[in-house]
């Protein structure tokens, strides 16, 4: 149920975002709709919390650096996002993390443990990006999802994936 909802929201916001007049609104509302999935879950089940917060932030910065490395090493110039799109990028990043590595991960973890949570959240994450990305990019998208899910499992933390994802989306 959670997976179907998340997929529907992702595909809907992707299709709406192709219309220039409603693109930013679709992205922000889409991000918020994704975040709604996490409502009702205890913060600790989502991997959110304030303990060892410094380590979580450092982890987020490190994840952001890793996500950016392949593009940063090869791009001569980076586009600068307008403020509206930067807000949309933050909304989508946070919403996606709350949905995929937060609620969906927690639901799958309850259902079948960590292996199912990691694999299932990665597969749905990749499927969710099938409409917005050319096929040749989906391998990289899947690998990014796997990396964030493995972090979520190993550190029981969602703060670092949120930070890393926001950094990557703002820069990519």
């Amino acid at each position: 149920m959670v997976g179907a909802y998340v997929l529907c929201v992702e595909w809907a916001r992707t299709l709406l975002a192709t219309q220039p007049r409603v693109a930013i609104a679709a992205l922000i509302v889409g991000g918020a709709a994704l975040g709604l999935v996490a409502v009702g879950w205890p913060a600790d089940r989502l991997g959110l919390g304030t303990s060892r917060f410094g380590l979580r932030i450092i982890g987020g910065l490190a994840l952001g650096a890793v996500l950016l490395l392949p593009a940063a090493a090869r791009s001569g110039a980076a586009p600068i996002l307008p403020a509206g799109l930067a807000m949309a990028a933050v909304a989508v990043s946070v919403g996606e993390e709350l949905a995929f590595r937060g609620a969906l991960y927690a639901a799958l973890d309850e259902l079948g443990g960590a292996p199912l949570a990691i694999a299932g959240s990665t597969v749905l994450w990749t499927a969710a990006h099938a409409l917005s990305h050319p096929p040749e990019f989906l391998g990289a998208v899947a690998a990014a999802g796997l990396l964030l899910a493995v972090w979520r499992w190993a550190c029981r933390d969602l703060v670092a994936p949120v930070i890393g994802h926001v950094i990557a989306d703002l820069a990519l």
Binding site: A62, S75, P79, H133, A140, L147, A168, L172
Partner: protein, 233 residues
Amino acid sequence: MALAVIAYIVAAWMVAPGFYDGFGPQQPYNWTCPPPQAGANQKPTSGHVDIKVIGGVSDANSAFTNDAQIVLGFLPGAFDATGKTSISVDVTPLSTCPHPPGIMFVTNVYLVTASAPLVKPAHVVMLYSNLMAAPSAIYQAADPAGPWKSIGANRDAMPYTITTTTSSLGYFASGYLQTSAASGSLRVGGGQVLPIVVAILIVIVLLAGIPLAVLRRRRPSGEVEEDEDEAKS
């Protein structure tokens, strides 16, 4: 986690740089063959310029399409103007989309012709869309069926543009090698430093992740995790 980092770096390196999360500002582009993710599309336009010949030397000028998706800049004396009073240059988008083996084009293919041969390099600027991966080079051919050769790319181009110089006219398109998408690699002293950078990043992630993972998982059975304590308090 290190394996996940390596897997991501390898997977991301196998595709052209610029993969995005689907929210970037859509760069308008008029496609000959629009990709599935493109919305409404207008056909690309052509362009024409007549370059004056002054004192037997062709003037400086630019040829571009009306939608400015390709611009060629010519220096004074760029053409062999012997016996001519002006030189006409035409830029026309190809109505088909060639798929040469091993190369992925991310722009339309344009045919650039002139009424006199080019004798000085011309500057080429091509616009591309962020709906596709960023190109790593501009390719040129005398025939759309090929063979296509890379004429390179300058690294300091503006966003969504790729530039280079060409010593001859013909067909132009931007793209990347499907087997190796790199538009440039990090090199220091003749050797690639990427493995070193990757190793450093792996160490950073592990340094950040291991303490967190150990702290959050090292607890005797029955002891409640700190966040759970926080949640219950």
